[in-house]
Subunit: 231 residues, 2 copies
């Protein structure tokens, strides 16, 4: 990785066009040829960037550029598209290079997949006597997160979200509409399950006869840990 602090202007030409006026910024060149241009604020998104794989080609400024104070031009060309980044460097302030090597990568815990696994294992949270039919039950308009059968033998379709919002209720509504056309499954109950369910989503779900289920992830993981320790 190569880090350069420089006064520069930047132009991106590709899926759209974008321009950064002259200012002091951090240029980060990664081992795979990707380039990030960061300011001293904002979130993790760079002001501008080039995705890998890309190649960096440094050229001398032409007469006009030279007159404008450009010392060096970086042409960053994406390897698989016409996307191009042109960095006009006016002043080179700092430089630092270091080989970081490969990274072991991030280990995540608590994304929707974890929540789905836990709910499938603790399917009784849907109600006494519920049994799992399957996770990721495929339909023409996408997979239903969890399909189960309740104590009375009715099919239950579960839409699972980390944060329950209106669009999640819409999604479940579409699934229910489709599933209820299948005589082997109908009638199908809907359950909207999430760690947090927004009031508006709860109102909409209730209005459509969809049950809301708040999930306590820490408690569910606690149960999972205890079960794991038994084996």
């Amino acid at each position: 990785m190569r880090l350069v602090i420089a006064r520069c202007s930047v132009d991106y030409i590709g899926r759209l066009r974008a321009h950064l006026p002259l200012a002091t910024r951090l240029l980060m060149v990664k081992a795979d040829g990707s380039v990030l241009i960061h300011s001293d604020g904002g979130s993790y998104k760079p002001l501008n960037w080039m995705s890998p794989p890309a190649t960096l080609h440094v050229t001398e400024p032409d007469e006009d550029d030279n007159e404008a104070g450009v010392a060096e031009i970086w042409n960053v060309q994406h390897a698989k598209s016409d996307d191009r980044l042109v960095i006009s460097i006016h002043e080179h302030l700092h430089e630092l290079s270091h080989d970081l090597g490969a990274d072991p990568g991030l280990v995540k815990d608590g994304v929707e997949a974890d929540l789905q696994r836990l709910l499938a294992e603790q399917i009784h949270l849907l109600g006494q006597g519920c049994t799992l039919i399957r996770r990721e039950y495929m339909t023409a308009i996408g997979p239903v997160d969890i399909l189960a059968r309740d104590a009375a033998g009715r099919t239950v379709a579960v839409e699972l979200k980390r944060r329950g919002d209106i669009d999640g209720v819409e999604q479940l509504t579409r699934y229910l509409e489709l599933l209820n056309r299948d005589p082997l499954l109908a009638p199908v109950r809907g359950v909207f399950a999430a760690q947090q369910i927004k009031p508006q989503a709860r109102v909409l779900a209730t209005d459509r006869g969809i049950e809301c289920l708040s999930l306590d992830y820490d408690a569910m993981r606690g149960v999972d840990d205890i079960e794991s320790r038994l084996f």
Copy 2:
């Protein structure tokens, strides 16, 4: 901005939990307290990060940490939530600080507005004899991208997307429902226009009697260029 190359491990506890095993990485501390942890690959998204506003508090390692080889611990606490990043620094390899100042920001040119302008200008793409009523036709629930009249005199509501997926069909459905209550406009045809339309969105649209229209942006821009050259 402060840049540190260090051998470190990282733990994030917040909306989820995430862990980065010990490795050499770039730590970027911005002026607003945000922190980014980058490896030497991947795209612009850091391995882990803390959004602003946040505060960095450096503490000495306790006995266990010391034994494990930790030299220094960075506690990064988000100012408005419980999100927390703990960076255990084993080895400090490089350091570089520089005040970048405020950035003038990115100037973007021509994205979604272009597609809408082009379709309005080439309204015949909706079908022979179509005429434009207006762009951004306002309704109580938001603006319809394009409203037109077809050769048979029927109103046509167009929802325009760069990438057409189910959400766009839902949006157009809401507009059609509303527009069809207006006796001056009803009956209103729906056209879902996008550069690419996903199969599931196409299924849903067709099921609801909404026509799908794939747009060739390059061709449309080409026509635009030719027309421009005539004047």
